[in-house]
Amino acid sequence: MTSYNNGGVFNPAYHDSETLEVDKRSSRKPHHSNPYANEDLALWGERADLRNDAEHGSHRGGWQEESRRVEESIPMGFITTNSTSASWQHNVYQSSLQIDGDSHYDPSPAARPISSMSGNMTMRWRGIAMRRMSMFPNSDPAFTEEEAEDEEQNLVKELVALSTREQVRQIRGLPMSFERKKHIRRQVMAFKSSKHSQHFTGFTDCSKNISLSFRRCGYGIKSARQTLELWHGIMKEIGGKFGSSVLTYFMFLKWLLMFNIFSFLVNFGFITIPLLVHDLSPNIPSNVSFRGLELLTGAGYFNYTVMYYGGYSNETLRGLVDYNMQLAYFFTIAIYMVLCGIVLIFSMANSFKKNYALADSASNSAWQLLCSWDFSITNDKTVRQRKSNLRVQLKESLSEKSLKKRLTLSEKLQQYGIHLGCWVLSTSLAVGCGASIFYLCQYEQEAMDSGPWSLLNEAETLLVPFVVSLMNMVIPLFFSLLNKFELYSNQRRQIYALLLRNVLLRMVILGVLCYYWMNVVPGRFLCWEPMVGQALYRLVIIDFLFLMLGSFFGEFLSNVIGTQLLPRFGVPEFDVARNVLDLIYAQTLAWIGIYFSPLLPAIQILKFFILFYLKKVSLTQNCQPPRRSSRAAQMQTIFIFLLFFPFFVGALSMVAYTAWSLTPSEQCGPFHGLNNTFSVVEIWIAGLEGSSDWVVWIYENIIRSELFYFLLTLIIIVIIYVFWQLIQGRKELIGLLRQQIINEGKDKSFLLDKLQYLQKSYSEIPAGPIKQKGPSSRRSDGHSSGSQSNSNAMVQVLLARQQLEEEEQRRSLGGVSVPSDISASSAMTQALLARQRAERQNEDFYQMPEEHPSSLNALDQAMAARQRALDDERDEYWSTTDFNERNSSASAVTQAMQARLRAEEDRGDDPADLPSPTSSVMIQVMQARQRAEEEERMQWAPDPLQNPAPSGSSALIQAMLARQQAQNEYDDGY
């Protein structure tokens, strides 16, 4: 029991034990049968409230002041000055708040919670508060409305100093209600205009108007953009039903769609439109007509249109202005690729910064409990499912923790063997796919070369894309099957392994195709670029068909199987990773194809658009929300990274290789007759010589000079190195700061320990007498001893806390020590006791006769002890003080209280007299408490005594003990 109590004491000493007590009491309220006690409580509550108000100024301004206060209580790590005192102080404040909150059940909770963290508008604000805090450690009680207003004025001033844009941002980020934000905004605006009007009125008015209209214009644009925003309602519906991880797929799809729309607009605007304007009719041979199969194969009729590279000419279009088709083609594609790269790099870096740099997988259950709930879910079925999923996951994590055991060596080896086998198998599968595609391509070529071009021939061209798409669909399924046999220690690693294998497969397939297009195709055709374009077109189209089939087979069929045939399988989940990879693959095709078929993005737009609706329908009809709440944000980062790294970079290098090293076909296209595509720029520069020499100079000395790139690389390497070192430094700093936080915590617990130890030395002496008295009490059973130790612990706790509070108070007074008027308090106590005794006697009248002696005995003892304690105390204050005496006084008080406690416990068991003792005790509790607090506040009378500590403490202990006693009585009574 004692050990338990000590354990409990350890930390609650810092928390407020009062809170706990009050909570306990309030939770019992429904059972409470004594109307008087209730009334008393309420009365007390009102008083406390009043006191509260008096202390902190009116509640109108209280919002901010409270906010500052709490803000100060937030431990700020290494700013150690007075940080302990801050938290202690906070405790005092909080406990008083708690009382009024409890008795009233919420007088102004709205003000309180907002305030609770409001100060954290920015780190800067916290910093200010901390600084102020360390300068005036005891500003709390004196925190008035003026100060709150001051604070607000400071805020306004700081806001005024910022630019308008920053102002708006800051105001928006303030954790206040709209009304207050509006108020601050108005003040800021007024302040600004008054400041300006002192100088030149007319001009500032004008500029103000202009800035206002600019802002309105900006909001208008934002509004318009929102109107144009695609699929807002659908996104909301999906998010509401399936949560944000599935929504990631659709966001990604939308993002890619935007990419393609941009790319289409650029290509169409700068390449196709000028050509169409110049020469509307495509020069199609008379024997070629549109047959329908072209839609699938992209050959035939399409071959002569602007769809492909071949449809463009190398002429300079002569119209209102000369338009050099070659340059336009080259620069449009180049700039588009560069822009894509930049956008990708930025969104990737941004996503990394946001989602990865700080992510920490260690705090799993904290995450699951506090961050994993998706607030956007609005579907009741999903909510139910989520709840049970979360339950299962929590249970799993608990059992994992308890069952975690080390694997033996052979088991480990076995596992590694399985992993290795799976990797070998999947890699060889991917390589095999690549090889078979290469041979298939060659076979197709031979077949095409052998016979004349016919419809059948044209249909045969669909073989390669068909096989490729089939592989793309089937092999990942096989991979997932393989994944099931492997045992991964954590789920994320499993997902990554699967993802990596799929990426590998697609890279091998695309690599083989690219190799074929780059090395084989140019040698075989006179006009080879359109051939590659056609191949890409077919791949895009067939891939689309397979995506549709995939959602039919993958989702619809397994839904049917799961619901109708084999309920064991259940309704399928939407596999976000696989689907996103499909999208990435499709986008890569479009990027590769942009050089060979500038209008491929148009097809891509159509494809993505249809795919969105298809997937949405398939999702809502066939799928269930994901069972595991995976960390969607990190997955998204990985997807963007994948899109950038192997796929976009691969596509870019392929296009660049084509432009730099391959000879364009002799017969068709904008670049025919040139050695390579890039020589367009050389020709252009040569033509510029004489007219604009600076361009030529730049070209010669920067673009074409190795030295420049060499220097650039060197500089970049140096910069990278410097940043790397910076990162290392920051990492160290972070580690140090973490350590500091931990040390702070340790410091705190060490100090608490020490305090406890000190207080123990006070309370150990009374332990003797109590035990001696034990037998005199009739019921010295386990329960009473329990309560004794309990109260013992309480005394310790309260003493520790109390002492600290007092120390602070003393400090705030600048070293002036504070005695209290003991005579008043003792008188009060006596009065109370007399009253209590009277009541007690009344009650005893109805009690069993044999109880009389013991309870009276106990009471007498209590009274005597108490009297002694008070005498001691008085002596102590009016005479000299030394350690011994102080100890005895503390012991006397404790003794007295415990004796009383016991006496009351004795009678508390009798149900007949329950109401009145309860009420009396309650009254006592309340009064004692109030007295204690009054005393505390009255301690300002200057009196240079040496040892002020016990005076306040005795009062407080009395109060606390009385309260504790009441608690015990309740416990016994019910």
């Binding site: 809170t19 909570d23 937030i74 700020m76 909080q94 919420d106 102004s108 909770p109 709205a110 309180r112 919670p113 609770s116 963290m117 954290n120 708006v168 928006r172 954790p175 209600s177 709209f178 509006k182 905004r185 206002l212 802002r215 909001y219 208008g220 509004s223 996104m235 944000s244 946001k354 992510a359 920490d360 260690a362 705090s363 799993n364 904290a366 995450w367 409990l369 506090l370 961050c371 709930w373 998706d374 607030f375 956007s376 879910i377 609005t378 579907n379 009741d380 909510v383 709840k387 049970s388 979360l390 339950r391 929590l394 249970k395 960390r631 969607a632 944000a633 915590g745 340790k746 705190k748």
Partner: protein, 187 residues
């Protein structure tokens, strides 16, 4: 601009746009939603800022909040009187904080308030237990609830006081990137 009926003046809309994360259009949409909740109580004309509050029961019935396990806490956290009565401004405030563009700090502050059931500025075990019970349909055994809560405190508590202060919470949030996307209600 060209609205058939003026609900807000331009100045009001400017104030809304400056102080919340919404555009004019969204503010009007929000007003529509608010009006929808109680057509006879909420006036269409807000130019003179009428004093009108809707009780918690009505707001909690919105489809966006209806299934949310923390719906009452959300609404209470944003209401001035703490009873869950929301004026239109508070209503806008609520969705502004829950909108996509609200910064992490702001969201964290209000999330902390929502999870702080007993309003003592700390997430103590009791709060976590309540949170957990809401998240799991109260189907975990008391021991499991206890274990999970202890683990949570253990993981997130930096200063060793056995409860989560706001700074502990914020620290945890800053390392959970998903929070931004999950603490988000589309309106």
């Amino acid at each position: 601009m060209g609205n058939k009926q003026t609900i807000f003046t331009d100045e009001q809309l400017d104030a809304y746009q400056d102080c919340t994360f919404f555009t004019r259009k969204e503010i009007l949409r929000l007003h529509g939603r608010y009006h929808e909740l109680a057509p006879h109580l909420v006036p269409m004309d807000y130019t003179n800022e009428p004093d009108c509050k809707l009780p918690l029961a009505l707001i909690v019935d919105m489809p966006e909040l209806k299934e949310n396990p923390f719906r009452n806490r959300i609404v209470e956290s944003f209401s001035e009187d703490g009873m869950g009565n929301l004026s239109f401004n508070e209503f806008v405030d609520m969705f502004s904080v829950l909108s996509e563009t609200a910064p992490r700090e702001l969201k964290a502050i209000y999330a902390f308030k929502i999870y702080d059931f007993n309003v003592d500025n700390y997430l103590c075990k009791e709060d976590l237990e309540k949170t957990l019970n809401r998240l799991t349909k109260e189907e975990l055994t008391p021991e499991e609830v206890d274990l999970v809560c202890e683990k949570t405190i253990d993981e997130a508590d930096l200063d060793g006081d056995n409860k989560l202060s706001y700074s502990d919470f914020e620290n945890m949030i800053s390392r959970a990137p998903d929070f931004l996307s999950t603490f988000h209600i589309r309106i």
